[in-house]
């Protein structure tokens, strides 16, 4: 099972100090956070993509390319790549290039974004959100699998004898996850292709996540990619930890109360009860996270949101230390122990798989 972090890339004022990082500070902080993720033994770093303030990550492959050069093992991913407003040809080119630079340590997650105006900014119509996601991904899928593409669709100029370069590393396209909070069409899309399905899971009750994942698993089996249990599922999570629960609650509360998205709404207590947000000791985080499999089945990827709501870099890095040292090693062992044979790992590039196998075989790594 893979563990990692995903970032929204928000520039948010620290409500406890009134300090707002500059864009430069936020971008540099993102890099420090990614490097820390590798240092503490996490598997995945994923960045969001946004094209409006207060967010900085408008150019994910630039950032991920830099991180690729500074890391050895970390899988670089997105959360999410806007399949609706980006040209699928450019996605094919950018991520194939990144795949070469990172020696295969790349996958990506398709999403439709959370900002209505982003559609008109890129000349698209939000009412066509789902059709855009479906048509654009169909083209991307083809561009990575066929050397010469003839294509015609509703939303993009036709292509004749087009070749997207560079070709995917070793002819293996990056693995794709499809992220959606509430659209069954996207679960269906992921199932159709046999791709992964990622449920953000951090803002909504687990009951809802359970239904979305169950639908994806059922349809995955329907399309003949394997049994429902073998479908590739990823979940988000959101935690804040201190040795003592009360300290975690006290420290995180002002960030929660003022957080973008859910701030100034429900109480921290209500929200932690209603959604998977966990604020407490590492042990509480372990127990809550392990409970996710009871709702969605054994799954392949768990990403945590750690660096939002104005939390200072120093705090985020401390959180990553706790996550990497105290939480993930236990989760790895427990999830592996509970997982039945026949449930696969998330697909990784063959070069990455080989490196991992070699590392596991090396007694020093054990």
């Amino acid at each position: 099972m893979q563990f990692g972090i995903f970032t929204v890339g928000d520039v948010t004022t620290d409500p406890t100090t009134g300090t707002t990082p500059s864009e430069n500070e936020r971008i540099k902080a993102t890099l420090a956070i990614a490097l820390k993720a590798e240092e503490v033994g996490l598997d995945v770093f994923a960045t969001g993509e946004h094209h409006n303030p207060p967010f900085v990550p408008s150019s994910p492959t630039t950032t991920l390319g830099y991180i690729a050069a500074r890391t050895e093992k970390l899988i670089l991913s997105t959360s999410t790549t806007l399949i609706t407003t980006n040209d699928p040809v450019k996605i094919a080119e950018d991520y194939a290039t990144l795949q070469h630079l990172a020696d295969g340590r790349v996958d990506l997650m398709m999403g439709r974004g959370n900002t209505g105006p982003v559609y008109p900014w890129f000349g698209k119509d939000i009412r066509q959100g789902i059709p855009l996601a479906i048509e654009n991904y169909a083209l991307l899928h083809k561009l990575w699998r066929e050397d010469v593409v003839d294509w015609e669709g509703k939303f993009r100029t036709p292509l004749q004898s087009f070749t997207a370069t560079p070709r995917p590393l070793d002819g293996v396209p990056p693995f794709v996850w499809h992220g959606s909070i509430r659209s069954p069409e996207i679960a269906e899309q992921a199932a159709f292709y046999g791709d992964g399905f990622f449920h953000n899971n951090i803002f909504w009750p687990m009951e809802h996540t359970r239904k979305m994942v169950a639908l994806y698993r059922k349809r995955y089996a329907h399309y003949g990619h394997g049994t429902a249990e073998q479908a590739i599922v990823g979940l988000g999570g959101q935690v804040f930890m201190r040795k003592n629960s009360q300290d975690a609650v006290r420290e995180f509360r002002p960030y929660f109360d003022n957080a973008p998205v859910y701030g100034h709404g429900p109480s921290l207590e209500d929200f932690t009860q209603q959604t998977p947000l966990t604020v407490g000791s590492p042990q509480e985080v372990i127990e809550r996270t392990l409970s996710f499999r009871e709702d969605v089945g054994d799954y392949q990827r768990q990403l945590f949101l750690m660096d939002h709501a104005g939390l200072p870099l120093k705090t985020v890095l401390e959180q990553l230390d706790i996550l990497g040292e105290e939480v993930v090693p236990v989760l790895r062992k427990e999830f592996a122990r509970l997982r039945p044979a026949g449930v696969p790992d998330a697909p990784v590039h063959p070069a990455v798989a080989a490196a991992r196998a070699a590392a596991t075989a090396d007694p020093k790594e054990l």
Partner: protein, 219 residues
């Protein structure tokens, strides 16, 4: 749904005070519908009144987070699962109250399609009675609900007066609205409202003179 399942009438009341005339109107409309349903067919009738005041914080939280807390979820499920709906709001600043609108903003925009709805409102003065026609009726028309012809407006003075020579009193309007809802819920095509009888109805068209005289006496 089987024939033995109860018919569900749900009334949404957006009043803020306690006791609330909005709640009172909702209760009376629900009772009128229940009585006429009980007369007209043999399925059990269940009445539930949802008071939005109790859900005010849940409604605000749902607007912020995008999902309903458990109590609000139950209320939304009751409304969307009802056979007939009664929606009652106080008039605030020349329209439905913000709480009333926020609640219906959280109902899926196809969940009320085809659902019979009685609209009603309360106010301090009768001058705002057309709120029902220019605010509530379009709202439910947008939701593709079947808004029944009789809407009920209760100004403060209506609770203590009879109709006059031109209009019926509040109790008669409540009965008529309840009848329309009962008819719509059971799929009867004839409106529960009584039409004016004409010469085509023969003797029935004539109100006996003694009764006409009696009706003129102040009761």
């Amino acid at each position: 749904m089987t024939a033995t399942a109860p018919l569900k009438i749900v009334a949404v009341a957006a009043g803020l005070s306690s006791p609330s005339s909005t709640r009172l109107l909702a209760d009376r409309l629900a009772e009128a519908a229940r009585e006429q349903l009980a007369d007209g067919q043999d399925r059990r009738v269940e009445v539930q009144v949802v008071e939005l005041r109790d859900l005010a914080v849940d409604i605000a939280n749902h607007l912020v987070t995008g999902f309903p807390p458990a109590g609000l979820k139950k209320a939304l499920d009751a409304v969307t699962g009802a056979d007939g709906l009664i929606a009652v709001t106080p008039v605030f600043t020349a329209s439905y109250s913000g709480l009333f609108k926020s609640f219906f903003d959280l109902v899926d925009n196809t969940a009320l399609t085809g659902k019979p709805v009685v609209i009603a409102a309360t106010g301090g003065t009768p001058r705002h009675s057309l709120v029902l026609e220019h605010a509530l009726r379009p709202l439910f028309a947008y939701l593709r609900a079947v808004v029944l012809p009789t809407s009920v407006y209760a100004a403060s003075e209506d609770w203590g007066s009879h109709g006059d020579e031109y209009t019926e009193g509040l109790p008669a309007r409540i009965r008529r609205a309840g009848g329309e809802l009962a008819s719509a819920v059971t799929g009867r095509t004839v409106s529960g409202a009584s039409r004016n009888l004409t010469l085509d109805d023969g003797e029935d068209a004539v109100v006996p003179f003694a009764q006409q005289l009696a009706d003129l006496r102040v009761g």
